[in-house]
Symmetry: C2
Subunit: 247 residues, 2 copies
């Protein structure tokens, strides 16, 4: 009986979108890994795949996992949880099949693999049985505050990261108690987020960022945005500065 040494799963952080904001380490791993896996919306080429494109050799095995449902569906809806759980289980099995055959797998991750995102579902399923290595990446929020030319934290500032999916009263409470904030997952939550910012007296300071560091980047004061539909992955920033030690 042959014992094949397990391959390693690499969670490769690709950064916020600009391919040049990938790390040297991520570029090295991508160019030397025989299997590249990524998640994407059905029918799309996949955003992570686009960022990584220049570093992926033509002769690799590619595994694209297509989400069965959109992230915009409320996760409490019937069918969502079971559909997505089955999808993650099947994706993990596909990765494990490569690892068992001794092939390393690079799983492409927008942003940082350990900061939200689908990689965690693979990590939690695979780490107990196979080697996993994570390469950190610049988060989407860092890309957005850089795009907005908005330093996010000074000195003793507290910063709070808030999913826009939270209830309005919860958002407002956190926004009242923090110096700086980043609100993720905006999409159809935007009017609720605006109301929470108004309740906290912070609406006029908020900055809206869409596609930070990428083609089509858009930065605006939230108060200038007007009523319009915005993407789920846009971000709202509340820059700090109250914690400055030295003026």
């Amino acid at each position: 009986m042959n014992e094949v040494k397990s391959g390693t799963l690499f969670g490769v952080g690709l950064g916020p979108g600009d391919p040049e904001l990938m790390t040297l380490k991520a570029a090295r791993i991508l160019s030397s890994t025989p299997v590249v896996a990524h998640f994407r919306k059905a029918g799309r080429s996949g955003h992570a795949r686009t960022i990584a494109n220049a570093h992926i050799r033509a002769d690799i095995i590619e595994a694209a996992f297509e989400y069965p449902v959109t992230t915009e569906i409320d996760f409490r809806e019937d069918g969502y949880v079971s559909a997505i759980r089955d999808f993650y289980a099947a994706s993990a099995n596909a990765i494990v099949a490569h690892l068992q055959d001794g092939r390393d797998v690079a799983l492409l991750c927008e942003g940082d693999p350990f900061f939200y995102g689908s990689f965690l579902h693979m990590y939690d399923r695979i780490k107990a049985t196979h080697p996993v290595m994570v390469i950190p990446g610049i988060t989407g929020m860092s890309g957005c505050w850089t795009a907005a030319q908005a330093p996010i934290t000074y000195g003793d500032d507290v910063m709070t990261v808030l999913p826009g999916t939270l209830e309005e009263s919860v958002l407002a409470k956190h926004l009242t108690e923090t110096d700086a904030a980043v609100i993720m997952k905006v999409g159809h939550n935007i009017e609720k987020i605006k109301d929470a910012l108004r309740t906290a007296g912070r609406f006029d300071d908020a900055i809206y960022v869409e596609r930070g560091t990428m083609a089509g980047e858009r930065v605006a004061r939230l108060s200038d945005l007007g009523d319009c539909a915005v993407p789920y992955f846009s971000i709202i920033l509340l820059p700090g500065g109250r914690g400055r030690r030295i003026a």
Copy 2:
């Protein structure tokens, strides 16, 4: 009269410490900029300078700004504020002199330039009069949660970043209300931070990380650390997970 076109100040994020966790863009800027500036403790080679070393050409002009006081001194102490303000003003003047002569300047920044740190003091002094470009970097906290193999946020988790310099009651309140937390600037604040974690019922979940992604990296459960002196730039992590949507 000759009009010299101003140079550009680049705030170059170097990432958390491992030189391979620098971005492709940071490496490109460093290898093509005639002046490299950095902050360092008096008498040290400088941590940022060490990370960047492989990308800095021998023929550049180098400007090392040595802090007149240590970051461990309480900023409310007599003399601290005026000494450090004078130091930042003189450092900004030295950078501006190069920019006025038409030379680009790369200012080395550990982590991400817009996320805490000394770069902001240069940015606020220079941005109105000279072009400034920021290259984001992986934050120290991302490096630490990667080193600890500790996913920091899932699904709808709230994450709060807290300077360990805050009062114990303020720390405890934030720790009670958040899912995930990162406590920076630990140093001599460690016993106060432990007490705040105990008050919030989160002490047993906390992870201590020193020199994440670097030589001498140390990861431990905070409860196993015992009573000992720790560096100012160590980090305490409280991983999230309560916001998981899919088990």
